[in-house]
């Protein structure tokens, strides 16, 4: 019973409470780049979750035999191989989406999130909890990507998954697309807004200010 709760916490914690993107601000480069549409965001999320889970499993399996001196290299080699395999599969079966994602699938290798989880968790825990933790973190990342992707596609094109949801003004509807949503800066705004929203609901995530502003000089009397 306790084991099950422990798994459940490991799995659900990274969704909001320990979300890797909004709390730790990890892996945001790809989060910003691939969220122009929901389909690419979803593919990227699935790819990252699969890579992360498998990498955590493999690394955790050999964790007792990874020499400390070369542990980062070993981890990166494993992650990179998994990424290449995923990329090949995408190119074979999802050619269209693979082109839209272009280089970002390959860049999963350098996603801080993957290395962060394998380095911080999988190296010290048995395979099953490691994979649960990795899967949870993958879901947390996916959640953010899907929210941002949905907002950007909905307001940038009036579509969701390529289906017209809001009738466009050009085609006789009432909705004028907000082109800003399709540009990179909008992802920053949305991510910033999301972080603010999460931290407003959960004030414990707010970081302590690193500097106190200098006291304001009192007006001379």
């Amino acid at each position: 019973m306790t084991a099950r709760t422990a798994f459940w916490t490991t799995l659900t914690d990274p969704l909001i409470r320990q979300n890797p993107v909004t709390l730790q601000i990890l892996g945001i480069c790809s989060a910003l780049a691939v969220t122009t549409s929901l389909a690419t965001a979803l593919t990227m999320s699935v790819s990252l979750t699969v890579v992360l889970t498998l990498a955590a499993g493999v690394i955790s399996l050999i964790r007792r035999h990874i020499p400390d001196t070369i542990r980062l290299i070993v981890q990166i080699v494993i992650v990179a191989s998994l990424v290449i395999v995923i990329d090949q599969i995408l190119q074979a079966y999802f050619a269209q989406i693979s082109r839209a994602l272009s280089v970002y699938v390959g860049l999963i290798t350098t996603n801080c999130l993957v290395l962060g989880r394998t380095e911080a968790y999988a190296r010290y825990h048995p395979p099953l909890p490691s994979m649960v933790d990795a899967f949870g973190n993958g879901l947390g990342y996916s959640l953010v990507l899907i929210i941002i992707g949905a907002i950007r596609e909905l307001f940038g094109r009036g579509q969701l998954f390529g289906h017209q949801v809001l009738p466009l003004a050009d085609a006789g509807g009432w909705f004028t697309p907000l082109s800003l949503m399709l540009l990179a800066p909008s992802a920053f705004f949305l991510l910033g807004g999301l972080v603010w929203a999460v931290r407003s609901v959960r004030p414990e995530q707010v970081e302590a200010p690193e500097f106190a502003p200098p006291p304001r000089p009192e007006a001379a009397e």
Partner: protein, 264 residues
Amino acid sequence: MAETDWNPWRRLLALPNESRAKTIIVAFLVSAVCAVLVSGATVILRPIQTANRAAEEQARISDLVRGIPGMSTLLDASGGTLSTVVIDLGTGRAAQGVTAETLQVALADQANWTPLSAGQDIAGLAQRPNYAQIFLLREGDEISLVLLPVTGQGYGGRFDAMLALHGDMNTIAGIAITQHAETPGLGGRIEDPSWQESFPGTLVRDDSGEVRFKVARGDATTEYEVDGITGATRTGTGFTRMMQFWLGPDGYGPLLDAIARGGF
């Protein structure tokens, strides 16, 4: 268990992690397993990827053909199928030893390009490939339609187009612009279907074989002209020159003559 374990695998695992031998062996094993994984995935999935790319190319071409105004009705009416041929531009005949699959490889070799002298180089291309992939629509023995890829120099850079000619090799059936960098709203209007609609029915060469096609300044006045685009004189001139080059003796001229004689 004081005696030595002779199983090399267990001895390896029992080594301290920091020992040099274990470091090297672990590194080697991990790389070997990963190499097998990556190579395996690449080799197994390659045929599917190649098929994908081929299908994509085919879809692009048929989209292109359908995109030429009036072309889909023409294709549906004839019921013929479009065939792909790589031709040798020098002789105007089907190329020997180069197929649609190997064309890209062949064109990567500089030996398969012909430099153009200043007099020949009407379209401003500097060089011309020796091979080109064209598309033919056959009805029985007759060629009823031919699609020719052409390239010209516009105001903003190169533009690529697909020109469709009827079976007499002299009447334009349509045109599609595949790629361009002209100013949006001015030269960029070469993409507009409204402009492309003026192409079908226009003649390209007169009886003496000289290319007479022209983008007019203003409205078309002869049967060899199409309407000009206001504010895009250089784009229009580039277009005229492109047609004069590609339909002339250094372009598809020999091919068009061969088809018109029925010798293709």
